[in-house]
Symmetry: C2
Subunit: 221 residues, 2 copies
DNA sequence: ATATTTTTTTAGGTGAAACTAAATTATATT
DNA sequence: AATATAATTTAGTTTCACCTAAAAAAATAT
């Protein structure tokens, strides 16, 4: 089949990211995600449905097909491999790489991706803690939740972010809240939903906004 | 100024490659180079002239401005750095990289290019022997000519190619005519303009087509 | 159950970059 | 110098991906 355009790939990726089993994805949600208008989305969804990449029925919300899903995964794979490359090899900062990877993910070449993967040593996670799909689309299961949902007095390891904006990532870096660090969640303040935690024996206070976008894995003690 | 589209960048690059001092570049030549139609070229040339990237006057043939030239150089720089990366780091074959670099050259990010350059060790030549412009657009002078123009009985080192198609490059590889090899040009046959040469004490016969597209540097003996 | 609001779709239009066909200008030939 | 040929430009379409405004359907509230 004819290769997808960059636009089509971006829509497919949006569908992938917005998908939760059982629910159809709305036109509005996709428009918001891609910073475009609902009318444009409707049009594109029809085109992608023609190509059997998703199921579209008027007013019903959209669901990716197996084919659409696996194509989206291959784009996500490229995005995350490039992010890994940019940070590990080229020494860019973790807040600089998303935008560049948004461009690199559309480069078409099987052999390039496979060689890149090998060159990088088949990494399993990208610099933001997101799993990198392998050639078959398999990726390691993530067992994480955001800090705001962790119950008080538990140990956890910072494992990822939900928000990938440079602003948020720079903020985390400034607070030394980087991936791999171990923290203890002390308590959540009902008033402003901020969270108190301890890292390296130092007390730390994080806002609701941070707590909701910072992912951790609970640790057995 | 607004960034150029991929199409605009490709036209600018074509103009750069077809340029020879003193001559205007014709619409037809550009169309052939880009595998497009002359009518499309005219349109685009007007747009690039608006942006002061080249001088355009009806029927006169086009010449890049300083600005257009330096922009073209920055695209060529990216193309050649990526080719170097693909061959030296990812171990792709020299006949595989051009097509991929045609995509990668359009990735927009200052910091990416500079870090890539550093990561690669500021290479001066790409895998096909073409010079890589530095950040200011400077590149090492090339002192080469094609085998068909070398006078008989002279020593030379293979230094580049004029034709970048996979077919030609694979052919060269099969004949072990790779960059850096030293050869002695024996004689040119008037009949079919083929050339006889010696490499590693073995006699070699190359066709007119090869001789015209293989570049060498003459060696002092 | 009806009315209001929100979501989604349709209809019609825009700009970019290509195309074909026809007209125009430049160049080459006799 | 006139004519034939080649190169270039113009005019008019097409496709893609977006847009706005208005209509239609679905969801929500009264």
């Amino acid at each position: 089949m004819a290769p997808l355009s960059i636009s089509e790939e971006n829509y497919l990726k949006a569908v992938f990211h917005l998908y939760t089993p059982g629910e159809g994805i709305g036109t509005n949600a996709i428009a918001r995600h891609l910073d475009t208008k609902p009318a444009s989305v409707t049009e594109m969804l029809k085109k992608l449905a023609e190509k059997k990449l998703l199921t579209y029925e008027k007013y019903q919300g959209v669901i990716p097909t197996r084919k659409g899903f696996s194509l989206a995964l291959s784009i996500v794979r490229k995005h995350r491999l490039w992010e890994y490359f940019l940070v590990e090899k080229l020494k860019l900062k973790w807040d600089q790489v998303h935008e560049i990877a948004e461009q690199l993910e559309h480069i078409r070449s099987e052999v390039l991706v496979e060689q890149l993967d090998q060159y990088l040593g088949f990494p399993k996670l990208d610099p933001h803690g997101d799993p990198i799909p392998d050639r078959e689309g398999k990726m390691c299961a993530q067992n994480c939740c955001c800090v705001s949902e962790v119950k008080p007095n538990s140990q956890a390891r910072i494992s990822g972010v939900k928000n990938h904006t440079p602003a948020f990532l720079k903020h985390l870096e400034k607070m030394h809240l980087t991936i791999g660090k171990t923290v203890k969640i002390i308590e959540r303040n009902e008033f402003d939903q901020s969270v108190e935690l301890v890292m390296n024996d130092r007390k730390l206070h994080i806002s609701k906004e941070v707590a909701q976008n910072l992912l951790v894995e609970k640790l057995m003690k």
